[in-house]
């Protein structure tokens, strides 16, 4: 956001230092009462006060938020390791529905030579028969 700055933007004078004190802040916003905080985007700012001012300008100047948070990006700890987040083996048994049984049942029927039973007309609902 700042690396394309025109030459006449006197950032050293404006920020009173080496000009490298700007850093990214992540902005979270609540659109209306009762909504969760959602990530809105980010702003560059030298401190929390200006980060909030800029967040206000970027994410609520048209009255589109009722609550804003800013978090220094450096204070966010992240995890993006696919071995940890997307393990390669089947983890479907951890899902609320349990294992998907359809393929295993079909294989067992084929082995025993039985046809797939017709859906029952009463009792339990047909939708659960193959689970």
């Amino acid at each position: 956001m700042t690396d394309q700055m025109p030459a006449d933007r006197d950032i050293d004078a404006a920020f009173g230092g080496d000009g490298r004190t700007l850093e990214p802040w992540e902005v979270f916003r609540r659109e209306k009462d009762g909504d969760p905080m959602r990530h809105g985007g980010s702003v560059m700012a030298p401190d929390a006060t200006l980060a909030l001012h800029y967040a206000r300008e970027m994410f609520s100047r048209r009255q589109e938020s009722v609550h804003l948070w800013v978090v220094r990006r450096a204070d966010i700890h992240d995890l993006a390791d696919l071995d940890l987040l997307q393990p390669p083996l089947d983890r479907s048994f951890k899902k609320p529905g349990g294992y998907v049984m359809r393929d295993k049942l079909a294989a067992a029927r084929a082995q025993s030579g039985q046809a797939k039973p017709k859906a029952r007309s009463g009792g339990r609902s047909a939708g659960t028969a193959d689970r």
């Binding site: 004078a13 920020f15 030298p46 800029y54 100047r61």
Partner: protein
């Protein structure tokens, strides 16, 4: 604005003239600083500040528009917000001489805005309980927006003041240049006493100036900055110089290119 004139205009002609002068001075202040600060659009120190300063400038133009519209209702002579804003000669504008100083560098812009916004805050405070309902209601809305302006400008004033070297030097130089003209925001309005008597203006401008000084003194002392010296306010809203003639040429250029155009 749909307010009928009969419900807004003071009965007494002298008070009405004074009210006209008060609203015009406020509208011209907001118009001139709003236009002048909009020159930062595209060239402010960083993109975020560019948006912030442009947004603040836009707020001021919005306040100016609302005040000119109110003035058009009070005048009831067929004038409109646009005709009042654009169809005057430079000498007829009644903004404070503080705003005749150009935007200069960033420190100059911050100093000018800080001085103006705090002074405007004191003036708006003097209208918060105005007996003139349309102005009181408008001022109530304007004050809620000005609160953020003062927050933002105070942050910048502190930031520049606390960084020794170039930022502080530029800020101090700007305050020394602007200081003698800062109080021109409180130039007495012609017929001001009648506004105070009618309860339209809570206190004379001189009393509002004292409130303003009391508000900013602790900030200036805390940051060791030069306080605006007391100055003679005669002609504080007239005698606009060459810098304003240039700005006027800019902000009226489109209007003058086709005065009959309907927008």
């Amino acid at each position: 604005m749909t307010t009928a004139r009969s419900t807004v205009a003071p009965a007494d002609p002298a008070t009405e003239r004074a009210l006209d002068g008060l609203i015009l001075s406020m509208a011209d202040d907001e118009f001139v600083i709003g236009f002048s600060d909009s020159e930062w659009t595209g060239i402010a120190p960083i993109l975020e500040e560019d948006v912030a300063m442009s947004s603040i400038a836009q707020d001021e133009l919005g306040h100016a528009r609302a005040l000119y519209e109110l003035l058009a209702v009070v005048r009831a002579d067929g004038s409109t917000a646009d005709s009042i804003a654009y169809d005057r000669e430079p000498a007829e504008y009644r903004h404070a001489q503080l705003l005749d100083h150009g935007r200069g560098d960033w420190a100059m812009t911050i100093a000018r805005r800080y001085l103006y916004d705090t002074a405007d805050g004191a003036r708006l405070g003097g209208l918060a309980a105005s007996s003139f309902a349309p102005l009181r209601e408008l001022v109530d809305k304007i004050r809620r927006e000005e609160r953020y302006h003062v927050m933002h400008l105070t942050t910048w004033l502190e930031r520049l003041a606390r960084h020794e070297g170039e930022p502080r030097e530029r800020l101090v130089a700007a305050l020394e240049e602007l200081g003698p003209d800062a109080a021109t925001v409180f130039t007495p309005i012609d017929g001001e006493a009648s506004l105070v008597d009618a309860g339209i203006l809570g206190e004379p401008m001189a009393a509002l100036e004292a409130r303003w000084r009391a508000t900013i003194t602790p900030i200036f002392v805390g940051l060791d900055l030069p306080m605006p010296p007391p100055g003679a306010l005669d002609g504080g809203r007239s005698n606009h110089g060459e810098a304003f003639r240039w700005l006027w040429g800019e902000f009226t250029s489109v209007r003058r290119s086709d005065p009959e155009a309907v927008w």
